[in-house]
């Protein structure tokens, strides 16, 4: 009798150990590189800085997220290939990264970031792709006192929560489509009716809420205002609600839904003169839609055709930092055999901004780097960067601007991407009406 009770207890203890250890080994085996880096911290004035982030290897955002990671890895390889970053005090910094798959889902991402900070000893963080995930992990960055650069995330609402260590590298969502409306006003002063159909996630909602207010302020009539769930594939019910005689259709969300939406707009024969969608159009893959892509405008954080340069920086009275735009494009193409999209550029820029801040601070100390970021006002290949330092909306991007691209038919009949707005940076005039 007693023996059995003892046996039971032993079994229990064994199972518990397994349970407890199940947590431990997974948690205590960080990637080899950063661990080695930590060990080498104080020797010979060389130090390894670990940057942690998650990638959506699977899930709805895997395309955009993958590009962002590609861009970041390019930065990482380049800086290390150059022998690292030399600080004023003579220390050489090498950079390492540690990342996990967040499955494009929020439920594990916080745990993964906690792990990045505590087990993998990440010194700095880059946000995951998409505003929803970035918003979730901003808390973690703040809670554990790590500076986080958000890339691929632009929800304004992340920055009205009182965070002080989260810095947005993108133009905020509220300014994504306002420029498109400016463009529309310029193209066609008589345009009146605007239909807004968007994904109902944080980012797109922030975008259209701001765009709707902006449009109404400019005297546009919003004839349709509908949201669809993330992952939607059938847009017919929404498209059917667009009344005949609509001038502009704006909205969308991310790549997958946006491209399907564009395709179904064509199939359903919607005769909108102006179509502007989020995220999807700037992706090179959007061209695979063929006719459905023609004339579609998309706000882009950055384009290979953009014209950010040292001269421009001088004109604006700020410093230019990092590689030339053309060099970035060439390097990226060399490594990944495709045009960089703005997600890729954003990933690179996140690393670059961090690099600059560390260089300015002359240290990897969180508070010093934070001070450097707060003061930062510069131009890179990605555009201008300046952060809001007010207490209410700290970390919000103030300097960076959107460009707007449109898919047009080139002389050879192939679809090409042209920058059509702002006026100063355009590579072609907008095609109007689009259809």
């Amino acid at each position: 009798m007693r023996k059995i009770a003892v046996l039971g207890l032993v079994l229990l203890v064994v199972s518990l150990t397994i349970v407890a250890c199940g947590g431990a080994p997974a948690a205590t085996q960080p990637g080899a590189a950063p661990a080695a880096g930590q060990a080498a911290a104080k020797t010979g004035g060389e130090k390894t800085v670990t940057i942690g982030f998650t990638t959506s290897q699977t899930g709805s955002a895997n395309l955009e997220s993958g590009r962002q990671t590609n861009g970041f890895k390019l930065w990482l390889d380049e800086i290390n290939a150059k022998g690292g970053l030399k600080l004023a005090d003579g220390t050489t910094l090498k950079f390492a990264s540690k990342s996990y798959d967040d499955e494009s889902k929020k439920d594990r991402v916080q745990e993964l970031y906690t792990k990045l900070v505590n087990d993998d000893k990440a010194d700095f963080l880059i946000s995951p792709y998409s505003s929803g995930l970035a918003d979730a992990v901003a808390v973690i960055a703040e809670q554990y006192g790590r500076v986080m650069i958000t890339a691929g995330a632009s929800s304004d609402s992340t920055h009205d929560k009182g965070y002080s260590l989260v810095y947005m590298s993108y133009t905020p969502a509220s300014r994504y489509l306002t420029g498109a409306l400016d463009l529309l006003a310029k193209l066609d002063p008589n345009a009146k009716k605007v239909a807004i159909i968007n994904e109902k996630d944080k980012f797109s909602t922030d975008v259209v809420t701001a765009a709707k207010a902006y449009a109404e302020g400019k005297g546009y009539q919003i004839v349709t205002f509908e949201g669809y769930d993330t992952g939607a594939t059938d847009f017919a019910p929404y498209i059917n609600k667009i009344p005949a005689g609509v001038d502009a259709v704006i909205g969308g969300g991310h790549f997958a839904d946006g491209s399907t939406f564009a395709r179904q707009l064509l199939e359903k024969g919607i005769k909108a003169k102006f179509i502007a969608l989020l995220v999807a159009p700037p992706e090179p893959k959007f061209a695979e839609l063929g006719d459905a892509a023609l004339g579609v405008i998309g706000p882009s954080q950055w384009e290979p055709l953009a014209k950010y340069s040292a001269e421009g920086a001088k004109a604006a009275g700020v410093e230019y930092y990092g590689p030339k735009l053309e060099d970035f494009v060439t390097e990226y193409k060399g490594k990944y055999t495709e045009e960089p999209s703005y997600h890729a550029a954003g990933g690179y820029a996140a690393g670059l901004l961090l690099q600059k801040a560390i260089e300015t601070a002359g240290s990897t100390d969180t508070q010093k780097v934070k001070a450097a970021l707060d003061k930062m006002d510069l131009m890179t290949f990605f555009g201008r960067t300046k952060f809001d330092t007010s207490e209410k909306t700290h970390g919000l991007q103030l300097g960076h601007d959107m460009v707007y691209i449109q898919w047009q038919k080139g002389a050879d009949g192939k679809l090409t991407k042209q920058v059509v707005w702002p006026e100063a940076g355009k590579s072609a005039s907008a095609l109007y009406p689009a259809r």
């Binding site: 349970v19 792990k115 979730a136």
Partner: protein
């Protein structure tokens, strides 16, 4: 369709079954279970490692979710795919008071639980009339309807949900401390769920539930007011996900419909209950621990990263096919003497 106990294990030996004290606090098994929960929490506290604490928070959260589901699924025999609806609705309500009304976490937790219970009462009065798979289907319907409704519901922020200002954590001693506080609360909730589970199981009420699980019609004839008791079981089992939801969203700082009403999470909770042994108290806790650690391990292991779901699915299939009583159920069935120790 008859609702029966899946954990149907024919006893190995009919003789020599120990008698178990009537009062649950006199049972070895009660203290063993408490010790398990104590250990799970202590691991994080002793190590003082934030990662382990976070992992244990998730683990304890699933352990209490599974245990609370067990009151309905394991004791009463009603399979609900909608347990997470209470996590969502209760959590949303509690979180609403934190973010919009500026309440402290503590009363909000209670409110979250109560809202979940009241909703369970209203839903339960109608759908508990359905039996077997019809009930299961109805719970799926309710979960989906609730998710779609909240996504359209203005006060809850519609599809983008609600969030709290970071400064809120200051009243809990700063963000780092707030995480520890959340963890402690989670730990306490797990203890409460265990004690309530034992209390119910050893009470007259619990006996009624068990008889409903075994044979609802026979139970009715024996005088068990099945409609009332199963509704009560539903209400009690819904209270905890409401509390846990509030805490979880408080810890996250935000809530969105897509995170709050995940059918997948509901099903995973059922899997945990099954894995450990439905109808037992320790089972759901061990089941949650095993499943959660397994999944978390697979997710971060380089070898299985891309196949974690498939591996977990294979494990589940093997258990359903070959150990339907779950680990604790199997042990209890195989070694009658263990019934004193494991319950």
């Amino acid at each position: 369709m008859k609702v029966g106990n899946v954990g149907a294990v024919r006893p190995a030996a009919s003789a020599a079954v120990p008698s178990i004290p009537a009062r649950f606090w006199q049972r070895v098994s009660f203290w063993v279970t408490l010790a398990v929960v104590a250990l799970l929490g202590a691991v994080a506290i002793v190590s003082q490692r934030d990662t382990l604490r976070e992992a244990m928070f998730t683990l304890l959260m699933f352990a209490s979710l599974a245990s609370s589901l067990n009151i309905l699924l394991g004791y009463t025999g009603y399979v609900s795919f909608g347990h997470i609806v209470f996590f969502g609705l209760g959590g949303y309500s509690g979180f609403y008071f934190i973010s919009k009304q500026g309440w402290s976490i503590y009363p909000s937790l209670i409110v979250g639980g109560l809202v979940a219970s009241v909703i369970a009462l209203l839903i339960g009065l109608s759908i508990l009339r359905l039996r077997g798979a019809y009930f299961a289907l109805a719970t799926i319907g309710i979960l989906e309807a609730a998710r779609a409704f909240v996504a359209n519901f203005g006060p809850f922020g519609g599809s983008t949900g609600l969030s709290i200002n970071f400064s809120v954590y200051r009243q809990y001693g700063g963000p780092a401390q707030a995480l520890w506080t959340s963890f402690y609360i989670m730990w306490v909730i797990t203890f409460i769920v265990v004690i309530v589970s034992f209390y119910i199981k050893s009470s007259r009420f619990g006996l009624g539930l068990l008889s409903i699980r075994e044979d609802e019609d026979a139970a009715l004839v024996m005088g068990v007011n099945a409609p009332r008791w199963k509704t009560l079981a539903y209400v009690v089992s819904a209270f905890f996900p409401g509390v846990i939801g509030t805490l979880y969203f408080f810890k996250n700082g935000n809530v969105e419909p897509a995170d709050a009403f995940r059918l997948q999470m509901s099903i995973e909770t059922i899997v945990m209950v099954m894995l450990g042994g439905q109808g037992t108290v320790l089972g759901p806790i061990l089941g949650a621990a095993t499943y959660d650690r397994l999944r978390s391990y697979l997710l971060t292991s380089d070898l299985f990263k891309n196949l974690h779901l498939a591996v977990a699915g294979l494990a589940l299939l093997l258990i359903v096919l070959f150990v339907p009583a779950g680990v604790v159920g199997w042990l209890r069935g195989r070694f009658a003497q263990l019934r004193r120790v494991l319950e």
